[in-house]
């Protein structure tokens, strides 16, 4: 008897697939939210596209072939690039210092150790939750907004840019590091404690060494993000590539624009490459071979050397933080901010703005994740490149060439979209779209598409190759391997990344507010530039409440999806 002769004799015994009610619920809610968000943009009523601007867009992109390569402009570009790099290096370094210090009190294991003789875990939980909630506030405010705040207080000094990166990044580092510590196996740590070791040294002997590869690898990921943040911050006037790009765009010098774009792509792409190679080596199984150790140590050493060099290059005026003028300004701003001005009739208006912000973030997230998912497969090294899972063993010359071409082009598109700061994307969108939340959503979507596409490509590259190769060897075609192996294994991570991107997009709505994209972000930037601190407090409260809401929904969906 062959197995093909096996037939179900009684179909009544075949179980039906389990209903996934929560999934259906979330999908339905997602559909409703999407239609609602499109409605918020005026998609169904108003004229959105300004066809007069299409020619202008053509001119902008046409200039890509003729970037300004004059010596004087190249010199300016180099200086701007170094300034952006220096902001990123200093911001990363300080955020790592603060983040590492805060990571301990933000971790559960710390409080469990402090209160390990308590019968119940209540006190440990209360302390932990308090620290975590406090840490969520600096994180909830985007670095762009921090930048505007620091410019108001400290003026247009590099220190404003560095602090604007340090504060939100520091609290993100604290959160991620504390979670890393909590996920590290505590058995050795507990074993040391039970042999009478002091808790603090035991932490450094047992817990931290085990977590080190993850901690270092995340530090380099933060550096990637800091490069992009530093470029975005340039737009508000602290200098660097973002600032020069804004100047060139506003003075319609598109050839200069492209010189700066290319510089930003080299800088951002270089940082991404360095970080991704290093992170891959750090988390590999055999992470202690001589060459890898050399790469890791060399990178850490280089990173440490970069800090004083960067500080020397931009020379931030640390004295400003503690100067008398700063103190006076903080006091006067606090005086002006209290009591916050809240009129009863304002609620409706604020809620309407919140809805717009929510809609903008959702559309940006949808755009970024769908685009990212498609491009992730094109851009992953292990699918379409020679030797890849979707390429037959004996690929034709054409298959090998086209696979490589698709890979290069998709990587370039991803790099380009994430290197250009979102506010610049928003300005470019305004050439063809009327101001509103749609250009904002598209700008954020494009920018985050580049980031997400790359992260998702990493997910695909890290898939376990064994089951995929097993499918291939049993005779499945490239597409069959894709739908039966690659897609289902990558999907859960894609979903988690997309939901997390939603949180990021919501916070980032403030950065396109500057260019007239509506919602709370626009109000915030208006209030900041008109020094309306009484109104600012109220708007910030709404904004932070909104970020908490989105974080909650996102965490809940991630938890209940499976």
């Amino acid at each position: 008897m062959s197995f093909t002769a096996l037939k179900p004799s009684d179909t009544r015994n075949v179980p039906s697939p389990p209903p996934l009610w929560h999934r259906r619920f979330w999908l339905l809610s997602f559909g409703v939210a999407l239609v609602f968000s499109l409605g918020q943009t005026g998609f169904f009523r108003e004229e959105l596209v300004n066809y007069g601007g299409v020619a202008l867009i053509g001119r902008v992109f046409g200039a890509a072939l003729h970037p300004d390569l004059s010596l004087s402009f190249l010199r300016l570009t180099l200086d701007a690039t170094l300034v952006t790099l220096a902001y990123a290096v200093c911001g990363t370094a300080f955020s790592l210092i603060f983040g590492s210090l805060l990571a301990l009190p933000a971790s559960q294991i710390f409080w469990k150790t402090v209160f390990r003789h308590d019968a119940s875990s209540r006190r440990a939980r209360v302390c932990w939750l308090t620290v975590r909630t406090l840490l969520a506030i600096p994180r909830g405010i985007h670095e762009f907004l921090w930048g505007l705040i620091f410019i108001n207080i400290l003026g247009l000094d590099p220190i404003s840019a560095i602090l604007a990166i340090t504060i939100p990044f520091g609290s993100i580092v604290a959160k991620v590091y504390s979670e890393t510590l909590d996920e590290t196996s505590p058995v050795v740590f507990n074993a040391l404690l039970n042999s009478g070791a002091k808790p603090f040294p035991a932490l450094f002997y047992a817990l931290i060494p085990q977590a080190i590869p993850d901690l270092v690898s995340y530090a380099f990921y933060r550096f990637e993000c800091a490069i992009r943040a530093a470029a975005v911050l340039g737009v508000i006037g602290v200098g660097g590539l973002g600032y020069q790009i804004l100047l060139s765009l506003q003075s319609l010098k598109y050839q200069e624009l492209w010189t700066l774009f290319f510089a930003l792509m080299v800088l951002s792409g270089g940082a991404d490459l360095w970080s991704s190679v290093l992170r891959k080596r750090l988390t590999q199984e055999q992470s202690d071979s001589a060459s890898i150790r050399f790469l890791v140590r060399g990178s850490i050493l280089l990173a440490i050397v970069l800090l004083p060099v960067s500080l020397g290059y931009v020379q931030p005026d640390f004295g400003r933080i503690f100067s008398e003028r700063t103190g006076r300004l903080i006091i006067s701003i606090t005086d002006q901010a209290f009591p916050p001005r809240y009129e009863p009739g304002q609620t409706g208006y604020m809620l309407a703005l919140s809805m717009k912000t929510l809609a903008m973030s959702l559309l940006a997230m949808v755009f970024a994740s769908f685009g990212g998912m498609v491009f992730a497969f094109f851009a992953a090294r292990n699918l379409l490149l020679p030797g890849g899972i979707m390429i037959p063993e004996k690929a034709s010359l054409w298959q090998r060439f086209s696979g490589r071409l698709v890979w290069v082009v998709s990587r370039m598109i991803l790099l380009f979209t994430r290197a250009i700061p979102a506010p610049i994307w928003a300005l470019i969108c305004l050439f063809v779209l009327f101001p509103g939340i749609l250009p904002g959503a598209i700008a954020l979507g494009l920018y985050n598409f580049g980031i997400l596409g790359r992260l998702m490509a990493e997910v695909v590259e890290h898939l376990d190759p064994r089951p995929l190769n097993a499918l291939k060897h049993q005779g499945a075609s490239g597409w069959q391997v894709f739908f039966y192996g690659v897609l289902p294994s990558a999907m859960p991570r894609f979903l988690a990344y997309s939901l997390y991107r939603w949180e990021v997009c919501l916070r980032a709505t403030v950065i396109v507010g500057l260019v007239g994209a509506g919602g709370l972000g626009r109000l915030l930037t208006e209030q900041l530039s008109s020094f309306d601190y009484r109104g600012l407090g109220v708007t910030l409260a709404y904004f932070i409440a909104l970020t908490f809401f989105v974080d909650l929904v996102s965490a809940f969906v991630r938890k209940t999806w499976h």
Binding site: A191, S195, K198, P209, I212
Partner: protein, 249 residues
């Protein structure tokens, strides 16, 4: 002479599962005691009570004459320094070098600054080296712990306990993760080390053979109760058979 460990009517349960039920036990200094019994008999719970990592639900655990439940945090840590434990899973920090894993045995009395400094420039190197000579792998002082074999890791764990220099060593199935040849070597090593240093040894063993050859006293544990507690010569095959008997339904 005060007993090193004394348990009076000790009970411990986890949720609905009773792990230990009315244990009475006295262990004197320099004794070598094997605790044997089937999986789930409560052997590990018993060791965890002895080193103070868990507390009894009822009854009294006395270590070196002190009731563990009434001690302050500092006093408890002081007592815990006198008890070293080795584990089935070795419980070493794999990314660290051997020297640092051994020096972790000092963490009870080293100051925080000294401990942190030692991670950069190792301190107490001579003492760590001596401990490694004792356990037979002196050449591994600066090796990456993750590169060692199972037997070598258990030797490093023993070296860590030697550096801690406790009065008693608790060993929770120290040979279960090793191949038969290594089992013999490690058991002989443990016996030699406690003999030379005059320490007390309490061994959890899944199977009983080594208990006969390496210990003064064998305690049979089943369903959280002591079935027998005697010198090896007086433990009959009938005892052992009863201890490991499968439940008849």
């Amino acid at each position: 002479m005060t007993p090193i460990f004394e348990l009076k009517n000790v009970c411990k349960s986890f949720g609905k599962v009773t792990a230990l039920d009315g244990i009475n036990l006295t262990i004197m200094p320099t004794e070598r005691v094997a605790i044997v019994g089937p999986s789930g008999a409560g052997k590990t719970t018993l060791l965890n009570l002895l080193n103070g990592s868990i507390r009894p639900d009822a009854g009294e655990v006395r270590v070196l004459g002190q009731n563990l439940t009434t001690l302050s945090r500092k006093q408890l840590r002081h007592i815990q320094r006198q008890i070293g434990t080795v584990y089935q899973q070795f419980h070493l920090v794999e990314p660290l070098r051997v020297i640092h894993n051994i020096n972790a045995g000092h963490l009870g009395h080293w100051s925080a600054t000294k401990a942190l400094f030692s991670l950069i420039k190792p301190l107490a190197v001579a003492q760590a080296q001596e401990a490694l000579v004792q356990v037979g792998i002196p050449e591994k002082l600066y090796a990456q712990t993750s590169h060692l074999s199972g037997g070598q890791k258990q030797r490093v764990a023993l070296a860590r306990v030697l550096v801690q220099n406790p009065q008693a060593i608790l060993a929770d199935e120290p040979i279960s993760n090793l191949d038969p040849r290594r089992r013999h070597e490690i058991m002989d090593l443990i016996r030699r080390l406690v003999d030379q240093t005059g320490k007390t040894l309490i061994l959890n063993l899944h199977s009983i053979e080594f208990a006969y050859t390496h210990c003064h006293r064998i305690i049979g544990l089943r369903h959280g109760r002591i079935q027998f507690d005697d010198v090896p010569e007086r433990i009959s095959e009938q005892h052992v058979h009863e201890l490991y008997r499968l439940e008849t339904l």
